[in-house]
C-alpha cells in the first residue's frame, strides 16, 4: 500500500512534467564540420557508373536514382526510373521520406559532380544515410555507359569484361546501339518519361 503511494507521488509529477514540456525533436546526431570534412576527404560518397549500371541491369530493388538537376533538364533526359529532386528543393519536406531512410540506396546525379555532391553534403549534414553521388555525373555516365570505348584486342580480360558490362548496360538502358550523341539522347529521353509516371503512382501509394 505504502509502496504504491510512494511510487505515485514520484511518478505522477514526473508524468505531468513530461506531458507539459514540448517534445524534443532535434536530432543530436548531426555531423560536425570536422566529421563532414573527413568524409569529403575520403570520398566514400562516390559510386562509379559501372556499379550503378550493374544494379540497374540486375534490377536491384534497393537502387533509387535521384536527379538533382532542375525539372526542365530532367524532362529532356534522365536515367531510367530516376526521380527528380532539384537541388534547390532538397529541403522540401515532401522529399524527406526519400532522402532520410535506411532501406534504399540513393544515388544523386547531376550533369557534372558538383550539384549532386552539394545535395549529398546537405543531406549528410542532416545526418541522413544511404545517399551517394554518381562519380563524374551524367557526362561521365554517357561517356562510359552509353558510348563505351571498345578496348584493344590486346587488352586484359578485365578490360574486355568491363567493356561488355558497359555495352550490355548501355543496351539495357536504350543507348549504345547508336553511337551519335544526339540520337542517343533522343532515344533515351523516351522511356524515362513513361517511367516517371509510374513513379508518381508510387508517390501516391506511399
Amino acid at each position: 500500500m505504502k509502496a504504491r503511494l510512494a511510487l505515485a507521488s514520484i511518478i505522477i509529477p514526473m508524468g505531468l512534467i513530461i506531458a507539459a514540456v514540448p517534445e524534443n525533436t532535434t536530432k543530436p546526431f548531426k555531423l560536425t564540420a570536422n566529421e563532414l570534412l573527413e568524409e569529403v576527404k575520403s570520398g566514400t560518397q562516390f559510386i562509379y557508373p559501372d556499379q550503378v549500371a550493374e544494379m540497374v541491369i540486375t534490377k536491384d530493388p534497393t537502387l533509387q536514382i535521384v536527379d538533382v538537376r532542375n525539372a526542365d533538364e530532367f524532362e529532356k533526359f534522365s536515367l531510367p526510373n530516376a526521380i527528380n529532386i532539384p537541388l534547390v528543393d532538397i529541403l522540401n519536406p515532401e522529399w524527406e521520406d526519400y532522402i532520410d531512410q535506411d532501406v534504399k540506396f540513393n544515388v544523386f546525379y547531376s550533369n557534372g559532380t558538383n550539384d549532386a555532391n552539394e545535395a549529398w553534403m546537405i543531406t549528410r549534414q542532416l545526418g541522413y544515410e544511404n545517399n551517394y553521388v554518381l562519380e563524374g555525373g551524367l557526362n561521365y555516365w554517357v561517356e562510359t555507359i552509353m558510348n563505351p570505348e571498345a578496348p584493344k584486342s590486346t587488352s586484359s580480360n578485365e578490360e574486355i569484361l568491363k567493356y561488355n558490362l558497359r555495352k550490355g548496360a548501355g543496351m539495357a538502358l536504350g543507348g549504345a546501339a547508336v553511337n551519335t550523341q544526339p540520337s542517343t539522347m533522343a532515344k533515351s529521353s523516351k522511356p524515362p518519361i513513361t517511367k516517371r509516371k509510374k513513379k508518381k503512382r508510387v508517390v501516391g501509394g506511399c
Binding site: 505522477i12 514526473m14 506531458a19 543530436p28
Partner: protein, 201 residues
C-alpha cells in the same frame, strides 16, 4: 550533452558484454521478485497474485518517463531506438500460443530460464518444451511462412495512432497503471487462496 552510448562507437563485443551484464541484472530482478515461482506467475491469470502486472507495468512507466526525460536533455535520440516491426497475424498468433503455454506451464520463456537456474525441475521441463517448439517452428517454417510475414504494418506507435504527444500518452499510461495496481490489489483480496500466502519465500 551527448548521447549516452553512440551506436557503433562501442564494438560488437563490448556491446555483447553489456548485454550480458544487463541480462544478469534482469534475471536478478526476476528472481528477487519471486518470478521463478510458477504459482506466483499463474496467479496473474486467477487474480490471487498480481505481482507480474505490478512489476512489469512499473518497469514500463519508469522506462517511458526515463526515456522521455533523457530525450529532453538530449542524452538519447529517440528516433534511433529500434522498435520491433509488427506483423499483425503472427503477433496475435504468437501471443495466443505463448499465453496458452504460460497458463499451462506456469512460466514465460524468460522466467523459465530464471527458475531453471535455481534448479526447479518443472522449469527445466518447460525449457525443454521451448526447444521442442523452436524445432517444430523452424522445421515446419515453409508451412507457416505466409502467415508469419502477413499483415506487415511497420512500427506503429500508440501516441501517433491516438494523435497525442508522447508525454501526454505517458501520463495517461501512468494513471492507467496506478489504476491497474489498485484493481490488482483488490483482486488479490477477492480471489485470495487459503493455500497461498502473498510474498512467501
Amino acid at each position: 550533452m551527448g548521447p549516452l552510448i553512440v551506436y557503433d562507437i562501442i564494438s560488437d563485443n563490448a556491446n555483447l558484454f553489456f548485454a550480458f551484464l544487463i541480462g544478469i541484472g534482469f534475471g536478478f530482478v526476476l528472481e528477487i521478485n519471486g518470478f521463478s515461482s510458477s504459482r506466483r506467475l499463474a496467479g496473474m491469470f486467477y487474480g490471487y497474485d498480481t505481482t507480474v502486472l505490478k512489476v512489469f507495468f512499473t518497469a514500463a512507466i519508469v522506462g517511458a518517463v526515463g526515456l522521455l526525460f533523457m530525450s529532453l536533455f538530449n542524452w538519447i535520440d529517440l528516433s534511433s531506438i529500434y522498435i520491433n516491426p509488427t506483423f499483425l497475424w503472427s503477433t496475435l498468433g504468437g501471443g495466443a500460443i505463448m499465453g496458452a503455454g504460460f497458463i499451462l506451464g506456469g512460466y514465460c520463456p524468460g522466467t523459465s530460464v530464471c527458475a531453471a537456474s535455481i534448479g526447479k525441475l518443472d522449469a527445466l521441463a518447460f525449457v525443454g518444451g521451448i526447444f521442442i517448439g523452436i524445432f517444430i517452428f523452424t522445421e515446419g517454417f515453409p508451412l507457416w511462412e505466409e502467415f508469419y510475414n502477413a499483415k506487415y504494418i511497420g512500427s506503429p506507435v500508440l501516441s501517433e495512432f491516438l494523435g497525442s504527444s508522447r508525454g501526454v500518452l505517458t501520463l495517461l499510461m501512468i494513471l492507467v497503471a496506478l489504476g491497474m495496481f489498485w484493481i490488482g490489489e483488490w483482486a488479490e483480496k477477492r480471489f485470495a487462496r487459503d493455500d497461498y500466502k502473498l510474498n512467501q519465500k
